[in-house]
């Protein structure tokens, strides 16, 4: 009897927490397709708000994807070889480098954005282009790629594979292309999903770095929350959910597969 009461209590509490997290998201999705949120769903369902958001913000949403994919490209080029070098070299220097590139995770985005503005704000062309946002996103997401790839290297003893290939006479470049990268694939994939998800949702840096002509999706969200009707803001949030949830699900599935393996 008593244990059943405890079970019910815990279940109730857990459900309450889940409701706290999920109910507003559901409300937002409903509000985004409701004619008049104040009157409720009885006022009818519509896609007019979604269409309106799309007309207003399509370039913003497109730029978000451009930035996210460019961020991914840069983190792949800079992160994967670096993870390999850091792993093979090891030692104190490698640890120090890892520590430094991980710092942007601890330092608030606002501070990094301010630092970038102070240093490069004067370079007008660069400041005004979306590359300025790209730089911020790269600094923020690089550690995720590097760590994700290094985690794989640590688990499969890449050094032995590498040395084996070397003893057969393969050049460093060839080994990197034919041995290292194929073996690092799970880490690269996990890191890539992380980088794209984080870049699409990044606000703290982006809000400071953006210009009226270079807005990304979360910046548009903040605009909409501040100045639009609840329905429009909700419709915009709905679009964001539609984009981010599949990425999250993919990440979860990848994580489950990693646990089974």
């Amino acid at each position: 009897m008593r244990s059943r009461l405890i079970f019910a209590g815990q279940l109730g509490f857990t459900l309450l927490v889940a409701a706290f997290l999920v109910v507003p998201a559901v409300l937002s999705m409903v509000a985004g397709v409701t004619v008049n949120y104040f009157r409720g769903v009885q006022s009818g369902l519509t896609l007019q708000w979604v269409v309106q958001v799309w007309e207003l913000y399509a370039p913003t949403i497109a730029l978000s994807f451009v930035v996210a994919l460019a961020t991914l490209a840069v983190t792949l080029v800079a992160g994967v070889p670096a993870a390999y070098a850091l792993h093979v070299r090891g030692g104190r220097v490698a640890r120090a480098v890892e520590e430094i590139i991980t710092l942007p995770l601890a330092i608030p985005g606002l501070a990094i954005a301010l630092a970038l503005l102070l240093t490069y704000g004067g370079f007008g062309g660069f400041r005004r282009s979306w590359l300025f946002i790209l730089v911020g996103h790269v600094i923020f997401t690089l550690p995720f790629m590097v760590r994700s790839v290094m985690a794989v290297f640590a688990s499969i003893d890449i050094r032995t594979l590498d040395e084996g290939a070397a003893s057969l006479g393969a050049s460093p470049l060839r080994r990197f292309r034919d041995v290292i990268v194929p073996n690092a694939k799970p880490g690269i994939l996990a890191g890539a999903l992380m980088v794209v998800t984080l870049s699409l949702g990044e606000f703290n840096l982006t809000w400071m770095l953006h210009t009226p002509l270079t807005k990304t999706l979360p910046v548009g969200l903040a605009d909409a929350y501040a100045s639009m009707r609840l329905e429009v803001a909700s419709a915009y949030t709905l679009i964001f959910f539609v984009m981010i949830v599949p990425l999250l699900v993919a990440m979860q599935m990848l994580g489950d597969k990693g646990q089974q393996a």
Binding site: L21, I100, M208, Y225
Partner: protein, 271 residues
């Protein structure tokens, strides 16, 4: 090409990016913080100037409260989910972790939908008590926003730690006559300490620096990120904004470094 040259080449892009777009700007930020009319005193002012000090205290208290409540919530829910198997369990876990990818602005909007002027809580309280409760734009809104942000993160770490707990220890304690409460207090909670430290530090550091949620909600709540933002954009007070940013970064980094040395594992914040 020799192996060591190749490794250097592998590291080059990362090092160039990091030096040019992180280390150099951070150095510039630190210098700017001391370049105001007060010089290095700009850093001291954070503690001596009453308005800045009050904001700093506000921010720390809010972050600490968020951390403690997130840990408590995550432990109760995580323990329950990890120790019982029932239909719908995986759906419940998914519900508790899916807001992981929401940026701070979206979290702010979620709180507005819950407790804003047209919010659900306002509607319910008006029906039940006849009075509309609206707290989204106060410090309570911010607190719940941070909670929304950190619960999914904390719960993942705690659940993983609970899964690794050795149930034999609990059974041993019970067989020796310990009450369920004593088992929790003396066996389970101490074993979870590294997970508490690691996830608590992330929650704390993230709440200290969270800007998006505060930006969406807080029209007149003084927390450090908002103060930095207003000093920078409205007052164009570069030196103060910089010195506050450096201090905020130092606090967040120190908390994470401390947690890492305490828990021995790797700790990384996100979001």
């Amino acid at each position: 090409m020799s192996q060591s040259n190749f490794l250097r080449l592998c590291l080059a892009p990362l090092l160039i990016l990091t030096v040019a777009f992180f280390l150099l700007p951070m150095a510039r930020l630190i210098v700017t913080g001391a370049a105001g009319p007060q010089g290095l005193g700009g850093y001291v002012a954070i503690v001596t100037e009453p308005r800045y000090r009050a904001t700093l205290i506000n921010t720390v208290v809010l972050a600490a409260a968020t951390t403690l409540v997130s840990l408590a919530v995550a432990t109760v829910a995580g323990m329950f989910l990890q120790r019982h198997r029932f239909p719908g369990r995986s759906v419940l876990i998914a519900m508790l972790t899916f807001p992981l990818a929401f940026p701070g602005v979206v979290v702010g909007f979620m709180i507005i939908l819950l407790a804003g002027r047209q919010g659900l809580i306002g509607d319910i309280t008006r029906l039940v008590a006849g009075e509309k409760v609206v707290f989204a734009y106060s410090i309570w809104g911010l607190f719940f926003g941070y909670l929304y942000f950190s619960v999914p993160r904390v719960i993942l770490t705690i659940m993983a730690a609970i899964q690794k707990l050795d149930r034999g220890l609990e059974e041993a304690a019970r067989s020796l006559g310990a009450s369920p409460f004593a088992v929790q207090r003396d066996v389970v909670l101490p074993a979870l300490k590294p997970a508490f430290v690691a996830s608590g530090a992330i929650a704390f550091a993230t709440a200290m620096g969270a800007f998006g949620t505060a930006f969406t909600l807080a029209t007149n709540i003084d927390v450090l990120p908002m103060l930095i933002y207003t000093e920078f954009t409205l007052a164009a007070n570069l030196a103060t904004a910089a010195s506050l940013s450096v201090s905020l970064g130092l606090i967040a980094w120190a908390i994470l470094a401390l947690a890492r040395s305490m828990s021995g594992g790797t700790v990384a914040a996100a979001g």
